[in-house]
């Protein structure tokens, strides 16, 4: 377990470093930042002075090390649009994005768990077919379009739910559904197939022979074990939802990290874009690491494996 832990930590560190390299290279590709900062009629001397002040006259490897040092302290420079440190701006918006992603995950599980269990129990019947159709639609209907349809039907037509902004729990419903829509398909299928395996196993048969109510057998004994593969997917989907939230936040005018980054792309506000990419990468790596480490907690067999 210890060796495994060290290897995973190392892999996570390499991944974050890789993300840093990509961000650094992208920054160089973006063109000369000096040209953006100086007025059009600036002289050659002004350019040279600015370059020196920003450290751009130094060799690339040195620049990269400086970039790394700043990155580790969370310093990605000031946002051009908002005149505030880029990372601070994003961290202020992070709670809104986390809230949305958690709500999306909750919605996905709320739909996928009963659907997965029922479609295994009633294999080949209408519930199973419904789950299959939902799975196909889930993959083919992009979340942002689902979001638009939800706004059209539930907010504009029926006026049941608010569509834009973040003012209360009701505002969370539509964006959460749009964001949670996509993983439902994969989650349902994973749970269905592990459920089918387990319903076939000896201990379930024993439970039935002992006369336990079918409901207890399925929801207490079978689901507990069948949920292991699903549980291992949850972290990955949560991490992906943080990325998916970028688009959903724009659809619903949700004041999160994603919307700030999309705005920053339009404004060519590079520090904010960089900070956003790194923030997502770090969260993604950390969440996946935690998931891997929690396998042992969820399934004791792995601890000894």
């Amino acid at each position: 377990m210890r060796a495994y832990l060290i290897r995973r930590l190392w892999q996570g560190a390499v991944a974050v470093l890789g993300a840093l390299v990509i961000v650094f290279v992208a920054q160089r590709l973006a063109g000369d930042p000096v040209a953006l900062l100086l007025p059009m009629d600036a002289s050659e001397e002004d350019f040279a002075a600015m370059r020196e002040a920003l450290g751009l006259d130094r060799p690339l490897p040195v620049q990269f090390l400086v970039f790394l040092r700043d990155a580790f302290t969370g310093d990605f420079g000031e946002s051009y649009q908002w005149q505030a440190p880029a990372m601070t701006l994003l961290l202020e918006r992070l709670p809104a994005t986390l809230e949305l992603a958690l709500a999306g995950l909750a919605f996905a599980l709320l739909l996928a768990v009963p659907l997965g269990v029922m479609s295994a129990v009633y294999r080949g019947r209408w519930v199973d077919r419904l789950a299959k159709v939902l799975a196909l639609l889930g993959q083919a209907m992009p979340g942002f379009w689902v979001g638009l349809l939800l706004i059209l039907f539930l907010a504009v037509r029926l006026q049941w739910l608010p569509a834009f902004g973040r003012e209360g729990p009701l505002h969370l419903v539509l964006p959460a559904v749009a964001l949670g829509w996509y993983p439902v398909a994969a989650m349902t299928r994973t749970l269905r197939s592990s459920m089918l395996d387990i319903l076939d196993s000896d201990y379930i048969r024993t439970g039935r022979v002992m006369g336990l109510p079918e409901r207890t057998v399925i929801w207490r004994y079978a689901l507990r074990n069948a949920a292991v593969p699903l549980a291992t997917m949850i972290g990955v989907y949560f991490a992906n939802m943080l990325g998916g939230a970028f688009v959903i936040e724009v659809v619903f005018a949700w004041p999160g990290v994603g919307r700030a980054v999309v705005d920053a792309v339009f404004a060519r506000d590079f520090p904010v874009v960089q900070a956003g990419v790194l923030l997502s990468a770090v969260i993604f790596v950390v969440v996946n690491l935690l998931v891997d480490l929690s396998y042992g907690l969820i399934d004791p067999r792995i601890r000894h494996g």
């Binding site: 196909l136 209907m141 504009v156 688009v247 999309v262």
Partner: protein
């Protein structure tokens, strides 16, 4: 089994999308960017006020929705074809090399895959959208950067197991050179997998491109794209429902068709997966 039938509907839908992409301008009822302000916000023909001149209605500038969807197919298909060819080619080449040569080559490629996969796709797309000039080229680049790992990982796994098979060992013992083994013996064996992945990727690329264009970071007007149409329609969601439903249906239908066809191909090539 009923599911073993050729997915006729999927093939028809994909065929229609391809025909629109290739020959759209010849049969589209209107020019995609033809503005007719007098006709703006005409509903689809089955609603009162609609007409068969504009079967799926018009947008705020009176442009014909059907013609624009047909024009959008060309962009979607162009992006998809380039993106699939490039990400499939690069991914497969790296995957085959990693699987066949092992050692350092495998270590480097596998680390690259790990790094790429540990950066969520959409934020990474934002980074490149901020750097590259917008348009088809940018969309294709972003998709290739996102999807090559998909091919590389799966092909690597396949080659790892193929490498141990007798026919490869025999070829090696018989003195066939490494490049020859790669090209003549390994690649043909992963072609089925590549075809399945490419078919499945088609749908995924269409959704990805639509997402970028919807955000305004992908295909730029005056070029027509389904995602861009949704973004335009979003501002008129309260008055013209057809602006956001029709392009979405085009996206959904193409994606659904390519997923179904991909699943069918996979099951056909790999009978073991038919069970469950």
């Amino acid at each position: 089994m009923a599911e073993r039938r050729v997915p006729v509907v999927s093939c028809l839908v994909l065929g229609l999308v391809l025909v629109c992409a290739v020959a759209g301008p010849w049969f589209a009822p209107h020019e995609a960017s033809e503005i007719a302000l007098a006709e703006s916000m005409t509903p689809p023909f089955w609603r009162s006020g609609g007409s068969l001149d504009y079967p799926l209605g018009t947008d705020m500038l009176g442009r014909d929705i059907l013609s624009r969807i047909i024009a959008g197919a060309r962009v979607s298909v162009t992006v998809a074809v380039y993106a699939i060819a490039l990400s499939g080619g690069i991914g497969a080449a790296l995957g085959v090399s990693a699987g066949y040569f092992g050692g350092m080559v495998d270590a480097v490629i596998s680390r690259l895959i790990d790094i790429q996969m540990s950066i969520p796709a959409i934020p990474l797309a934002m980074l490149f959208a901020a750097v590259l000039p917008p348009g088809e080229g940018m969309v294709i680049t972003i998709i290739v950067l996102t999807y090559w790992t998909w091919y590389a990982r799966i092909v690597r796994g396949e080659v790892l197991s193929l490498r141990e098979r007798d026919f490869i060992t025999v070829a090696r013992v018989a003195g066939v050179s490494s490049p020859m083994i790669l090209i003549r013996h390994l690649t043909p064996n992963v072609l089925n997998t590549l075809l399945v992945l490419a078919t499945l990727q088609f749908g995924s690329v269409i959704v990805f491109e639509a997402g970028l264009s919807f955000l305004g970071l992908g295909i730029q007007p005056p070029q027509v794209s389904w995602g861009g149409m949704l973004a335009d329609g979003r501002n008129f969601i309260e008055v013209a429902w057809w602006l956001i439903t029709m392009p979405g249906i085009a996206i959904m239908a193409s994606c659904l068709a390519s997923n179904l066809l991909g699943d069918w191909l996979r099951d056909t090539f790999d009978p073991k997966r038919r069970i469950t």
